[in-house]
């Protein structure tokens, strides 16, 4: 009690954050009950009739379920595989730059794409890859080849999305790693230098272990969101020809939830995604603790 009184202002400062979480994150979670109901807009959530697992049965029996699940997982895996290490590599490289002016200018330029909206970015990608006026195809045709309709080839879709996401987010993603690197004791580098460690050795034996906890936490969080691929970028760039590789849970939910007005079904899809994410994050956390001794909890 004395401890509480002594630190009362710290606890007072916690109240707005906790209220925010309670009101905007926890209370709405009761709404997931509509996944098990046939929602009536007049009867409201509690008054609507229960339908049990009917919405989930419909989802699992859908002809597109496997395809949507596969696309969502594959896109996420590629995003993690290519997108996750990208800011780490960039942060490691930026950390080695000794010219502060160059470092700051580079960082600023690298952050900029983060502030471009996906609507604008999708327009840039479409123009860039256009078979008629796109720069990429102008290069291809200048070598005597036929232009490639990149955005109409299912095989290119995931590469385009992942590349665009990396380009957009890599600079911003470095912030957290650069911050983690500033916490590493500089004397470790000095000692290593005296012992004759090369720059690469210092990165390998000091910097990477120094940010390992951050890397693992972010990796675990990414794994938890494995079925979240981001709606906008896919929706803006996909079309019926690329549904085969592009249709993901977000776009599927958009069509059935908003366009077809099946809110209960859309919620069931969302709940399924959340459950998969929850199981994955638990598993990954357990695996991380077993392998490296580091985990979120």
């Amino acid at each position: 009690m004395r401890y509480l009184i002594k630190n009362k202002w710290l606890y007072v400062f916690l109240i707005p954050g906790l209220l925010y979480l309670l009101i905007f994150k926890y209370v709405p979670m009761f709404g997931i009950v509509i996944a098990f109901k046939k929602l009536s807009i007049v009867k409201g959530i509690w008054g609507s009739d229960w339908v049990g697992f009917q919405n989930f049965e419909t989802l699992f029996q859908s002809a597109h379920f496997i395809r949507v699940l596969r696309n969502s997982i594959l896109l996420s895996v590629y995003q993690i595989l290519w997108g996750f290490p990208a800011p780490i590599l960039l942060a490691l490289m930026l950390n080695e730059v000794r010219q502060m002016l160059f470092k700051r200018i580079t960082q600023t330029i690298l952050y900029l794409p983060h502030f471009i909206s996906w609507v604008v970015l999708a327009g840039i990608v479409i123009n860039f890859l256009s078979p008629t006026s796109g720069l990429v195809n102008q290069i291809i045709t200048s070598f005597g080849h036929e232009p490639v309709k990149f955005l109409m080839e299912p095989g290119y879709f995931r590469s385009i999305i992942v590349s665009a996401e990396i380009w957009k987010g890599v600079g911003w993603g470095t912030i957290i790693y650069l911050a983690a690197m500033t916490g590493i004791d500089p004397t470790l580098y000095e000692s290593a230098k005296i012992d004759g460690a090369s720059r690469l050795q210092r990165i390998r034996y000091i910097t990477i272990p120094g940010i390992a906890t951050t890397i693992i936490i972010l990796l675990l969080l990414n794994l938890g969101n494995i079925l979240d691929n981001g709606f906008e970028q896919v929706f803006l760039l996909y079309n019926p020809v690329t549904y085969e590789t592009a249709d993901i849970f977000e776009t599927y939910t958009y069509r059935i939830g908003l366009q077809d007005g099946r809110l209960s079904y859309a919620t069931a899809v969302g709940l399924f995604k959340s459950v998969v994410g929850f199981v994955l994050i638990l598993s990954a956390n357990y695996a991380a603790r077993k392998i490296s001794g580091k985990s979120i909890w």
Partner: protein, 515 residues
């Protein structure tokens, strides 16, 4: 942004919005019509009418307010507008419906939109039949087919007032300067055959119509529509007039699209495929949206675009900003029999005004729409308020620079008034040039008999699931990735996945509407 959008479409937003519905209730339905003792539509008691509308601008402009001031004075009402951002209107509408906090008069996107159908089913939207006799202007200026379409539950009750959209058989805007460059002799009525149209597309693609010495133009500008589909280039010209009476056979009514014994829809697909294969169509068409397609047309990359005739002067103005030589005109394409006829698939409804069970004075709310359709009100809706938006000089309206009224034309329209859609700010000569095209598009329209009806079979999960396969296959056929013959297999599958029931239910519905 990524996170916020995720929240919007996924579990988070849906549940967040719907949590509000937990305690939602509904007030009872509307009361009886209230008029003044003498029976005229001018009650003494001042009432507030809450209206939720979808306008391009969220804030009321002074020029719009001028109209509403006159309306409020005439009807002794106070209008309270709820105008969410246009891009999020549908979500806001869902939110207000599930929370029970909705306006007296609500604009629904269409008579077939889920939000409207649910609102009717749940009694949120009330029938308007008993008020119609007091609404002479609404009755006079609405298509019969629109009223029929709003008998949503087929119980003789009309659930809303249509925001009328003039039913039209639109043609194409075309680069007139390119036509001159390729030496095409245009008939005086600007109606050409399918063969002539194809010839124009070919010459626009291969004969350097802009005379810049480069092979950098395409005949036709396509785009992905709001359902992410490209539309066929020509359709009614091959006889695809939607649901019509058959001359015997298994069904009394049929659309060529679902007719196993007709080649019409395959002809439609084959034509578009031919144009894609011959590269007469902008190859980016299956990737870009309408705005990007318009932009490419303005930049002189494409020469023909499907468009409402009233937009031709605007397209020319924009085009001239980039290239002073730009001249835009209009053409219609005749069908295989040499007739000009096109189908209106909808019911001339561009949104529905629903009166909700929250409305304490439904009659007064509807009078707002009726007044705007009266001669006095509609003149202002169409042209603006004199002294605020324009001044009269020598009997001609001279519009004041910088004054805009983005709301006034998004509330009501009169049936068959194509003139409404021609920009009032255009000079008289231009308006007179465009008007015959608009009139021609109105007089050559035919209605599909389905009236936008969606049979219950369309809500079956396996039917809805199959839509994706349908969209994918049709698009691939149109762009030439699959042969047209694949349509037969697709149609057979469609019948298996619920199409048979769909056609049967649609036939029952159409039969019920035929007097």
């Amino acid at each position: 942004m990524k996170r916020s959008f995720r929240g919007m479409i996924g579990l988070g937003m849906t549940t967040a919005l719907l949590a509000l519905a937990a305690c939602s209730g509904s007030s009872s339905g509307g009361d009886a019509p209230k008029t003044s003792p003498d029976g005229s539509a001018g009650p003494k008691e001042k009432v507030t009418i809450k209206i939720m509308a979808n306008f391009s601008s969220a804030d009321i402009a002074p020029a719009d307010k001028a109209i509403f001031d006159k309306l409020e004075k005439a009807l002794n009402v106070e209008l309270k507008w709820i105008v969410p951002p246009s891009s999020g209107y549908k979500e806001q509408l869902q939110l207000s419906l599930v929370s029970g906090d909705y306006a007296d008069l609500v604009m629904f996107p269409s008579e077939t939109d889920e939000s409207f159908l649910n609102a009717v089913d749940e009694g949120v939207v009330i029938p308007v039949n008993k008020y119609l006799d007091q609404l002479p202007n609404i009755k006079k200026y609405t298509y019969d087919v629109s009223w029929e379409a709003l008998e949503t539950k087929r119980d003789g009750k009309i659930y809303g007032v249509p925001r009328t959209s003039v039913a039209r058989n639109d043609g194409f805007i075309i680069r007139e300067d390119w036509l001159k460059n390729i030496g095409f002799q245009m008939p005086a009525n600007r109606e050409v055959t399918i063969e002539q149209f194809t010839d124009i597309m070919r010459k626009f693609t291969f004969n350097d119509p802009d005379k810049n010495g480069k092979n950098d133009t395409f005949g036709f500008a396509g785009y992905l529509n709001t359902t992410k589909m490209i539309d066929p280039i020509l359709s009614s010209q091959f006889g695809n007039l939607g649901w019509q009476k058959t001359n015997g056979g298994e069904y009394a009514y049929m659309t060529p699209m679902y007719d196993k014994n007709s080649t019409v829809y395959k002809d439609v697909l084959a034509y578009t495929q031919m144009a894609f294969k011959e590269k007469l169509v902008d190859p980016d068409s299956a990737v870009i949206d309408r705005n990007a397609s318009i932009d490419r047309f303005q930049r002189g990359m494409t020469g023909i675009r499907y468009e409402f005739a009233g937009n031709a002067p605007g397209a020319e103005k924009k085009g001239k900003e980039l290239n002073p030589n730009t001249e835009i005109s209009y053409i219609f394409i005749k069908d295989k029999q040499g007739q000009l006829k096109g189908v209106s698939y909808g019911t001339a409804i561009f949104g529905v005004w629903g009166v909700t069970n929250n409305a304490k004075h439904p009659d007064r709310a509807l009078q707002v729409l009726d007044w705007l359709l009266s001669d006095e009100g509609f003149d202002m809706v169409k042209y603006g308020v004199e002294g605020v938006e324009y001044n009269k000089e020598n009997g001609q309206r001279k519009y004041i620079d910088g004054v805009s009224a983005p709301w006034r034309k998004s509330i009501v329209r009169r049936a068959n008034d194509g003139d409404f859609f021609i920009d009032a700010k255009l000079d008289e000569a231009t308006r007179n040039k465009v008007k015959p095209w608009v009139d021609r598009s109105i007089e050559t329209v035919a209605f599909s008999l389905d009236q936008g009806y969606i049979p219950p079979a369309a809500k079956e999960p396996k039917f809805m699931d199959f839509k994706l396969i349908w969209d994918e296959t049709i698009t691939k056929i149109m762009i030439g990735e699959l042969p047209v013959s694949d349509f037969d297999k697709l149609l057979a599958q469609w019948y298996e996945k619920g199409g048979k029931e769909y056609v049967k239910q649609m036939n029952d519905y159409i039969a019920s509407t035929q007097k």
